[in-house]
């Protein structure tokens, strides 16, 4: 609906409709959804060499029945990579939105998204560190700690879920229903992945955990870039 300047007989309904239409135009001008999705996909893909080539450490072990014991294995570089990469990504995203706001001439509402993303990156770092320094419960042995809800929760504390939760905040600040739908699908997928047990001796065992979220983010980025309306030149 195009804006029609001053008409002497504006009905209340027309005025309210005009306000809604202008509000929608501002929201569309403030959106830059394709960029965070692209940056976060790039960060997710950049993690692959760290998982593959960085040295592994053996964490605390717990002796089970017979000759079995369960040890927590972790990659120290991964513990550093994710919080650092995510915080840098959110700084880049904030810079993009501020620069876009200047170019388009409308303010930006990206701050809650960036703050949430950075806080979740910190929480993820804490959860990953705790997991690496505490012994894992023994599976199929009636180990009481296996049933602790905090352990189940910790298994869902992955970089992809941190990205997905922050995307829900972006959907809210951008008032973007399509992004909300995308975020829900993304979160559902990565939560299902996080709950799955990987039985693999391959050194590339981690690839599905990175490639699936990265592919979803790239697809989303491409889709939102295609749906982006042309901005009027000032």
């Amino acid at each position: 609906m195009a804006f029609t300047p001053a008409s002497p007989a504006d009905s209340p309904r027309e005025l309210v409709a005009t306000v809604r239409n202008l509000t929608r135009q501002v929201r569309v001008a403030q959106r830059g959804t394709w960029f965070p999705l692209l940056v976060l996909a790039a960060v997710t893909l950049a993690a692959a060499p760290v998982y593959r080539f960085a040295p592994r450490h053996l964490g605390p072990c717990r002796d089970g029945a017979g000759a079995h014991s369960v040890c927590a294995g972790y990659i120290p570089a991964v513990l550093i990579f994710w919080p650092l990469a995510l915080v840098l990504a959110y700084a880049l995203i904030a810079r993009f939105y501020v620069s876009q706001a200047r170019r388009r001439g409308v303010g930006t509402r990206v701050r809650p998204y960036v703050i949430t993303g950075a806080v979740l990156a910190g929480a993820l770092a804490a959860a990953s560190w705790w997991r690496a320094t505490h012994p894992l419960p023994l599976p199929n042995t009636g180990d009481a700690s296996a049933a602790h809800p905090h352990l189940t929760l910790l298994s869902f504390a992955t970089p992809a879920t941190a990205i997905g939760l922050a995307l829900l905040v972006l959907a809210w600040v951008e008032a973007n229903r399509l992004l909300l739908a995308f975020s829900v699908v993304f979160l559902g997928t990565v939560l299902a992945q996080a709950g799955a047990v990987i039985h693999s001796a391959s050194r590339w065992y981690f690839l599905p955990q990175l490639l699936i979220p990265a592919a979803l983010l790239l697809l989303g980025s491409g889709g939102f870039a295609l749906l982006r309306p042309a901005q009027p030149k000032p």
Partner: protein
């Protein structure tokens, strides 16, 4: 004195262009002159006149500066402007309900 919602409408805010300026500024938090001009399809002179009316009524404040070498004017809503916009929309909705009931 009548209780009809139309009597509560503020002439400064009720004007279609000025209501548009307030609505855009409220949503954008901070908006540049050229965005308002393009979105509202106004001439620079016409927009400047409406901005002056709103600024004199303490509903908006303008800030002039430079983006590189380009002069820019940024518009923000004052707390009075936010309250006036909320009141205007509330009165308009009341009017719509009243018309629908009649």
């Amino acid at each position: 004195m009548t209780n009809h919602p139309a009597s509560a409408l503020d002439d400064v805010v009720h004007q279609r262009v000025r209501l548009g300026i307030l609505a855009i500024t409220a949503e954008a938090r901070r908006v540049e002159f050229s965005f308002l001009r393009t979105t509202l399809d106004l001439t620079a002179g016409n927009l400047a006149q409406h901005l002056t009316v709103l600024e004199n009524a303490d509903l908006i404040c303008t800030e002039k500066g430079y983006e590189g070498k380009r002069p820019r004017t940024w518009v923000t809503l004052t707390p009075t402007g936010q309250a006036a916009l909320r009141a205007e929309i509330s009165h308009l909705k009341k009017l719509i309900r009243q018309v629908e009931r009649a």
